[in-house]
Point group: C2
Chain length 134, copies 2
DNA sequence: CTAAACCTTACCATTATGGCAAGGTCAAAC
DNA sequence: GTTTGACCTTGCCATAATGGTAAGGTTTAG
């Protein structure tokens, strides 16, 4: 029952783009896939699972670099869940950092926008504030 | 009182890097600055203010593209604050979108990490979940 | 047999920033 | 007056992840 899919179908199955699948292969995230005589890439169900794994991890914002580690852990029966959790925690820290940064921008800019009349006159607190050193 | 600064001092004054100041000039965000006979760029206080303006806007996360518009508005005595506020609001929407996206990741990944023992055993809900289609 | 829909590779673009290298300039110290 | 160190110049390369396009081969359906 070895159903083999071409890259387009693998893309549909996994939710990745064909373009990205090739890219992942070329950048070493995926092993080179087998080819037909005419050079078409072929994917079996195990590889489709791997592509899905990658997509899920991308959806959670993991970098390709981290995903390489996650894939390795996934495939290692000897793994320690400690290591996986550490990776996740690191990523959570990054996410929290980015959120904080964005929230700070949000806070400052909201205050500025609130104090800008937004009418036909040139007076504008936003520009006034950008002008100042700080 | 025309104090002219070389690019390194302009960088220190503005908080931007010299590299980026050159880049902003080359990408059309800034007009070409005057040079000494030997080719060094020189900045007067008005230009320093412009650099500060750019840095402040960058700190608020505005793209260089948006900053080009903001600079133009800043320098236009005929501007309508409505336009500035619109730009700010658009950017705030983007920020809010990014925050929402990150918070979603944060929520999902936190739940996964919480259900991962993080010990020496290979069992791990995080990997288990990444494995699933969805 | 032909046309559509696929596949291949290779190159370019994005965004904002940094790094490096090879070389010119300027000021201070000797 | 020369050397030295700190500056400046340009230009090219790199990042991260993704998309686009172009030129060309393949497969499949009509």
């Amino acid at each position: 029952m070895a159903t083999l899919l071409t890259i387009g179908d693998a893309a549909k199955e996994s939710g990745l783009s064909a373009k990205m699948i090739r890219h992942y292969e070329q950048s070493g995230l995926l092993r080179k896939s087998p080819r037909t005589d005419s050079g078409y890439r072929l994917y079996n169900s195990e590889q489709i699972n791997q592509l899905r794994f990658i997509r899920q991890a991308r959806n959670l914002g993991f970098s390709l670099h981290d995903i390489q580690s996650l894939l390795a852990l996934w495939q290692d029966p000897q793994r320690e869940s400690r290591v996986v959790k550490q990776l996740a925690q690191q990523h959570l820290d990054e996410i929290a950092g980015k959120i904080a940064e964005l929230q700070h921008m949000q806070q400052v800019l909201t205050a500025l926008a609130d104090s800008c009349r937004g009418d036909g006159s040139p007076h504008c607190h936003i520009l006034q504030q950008l002008e100042k050193p700080g």
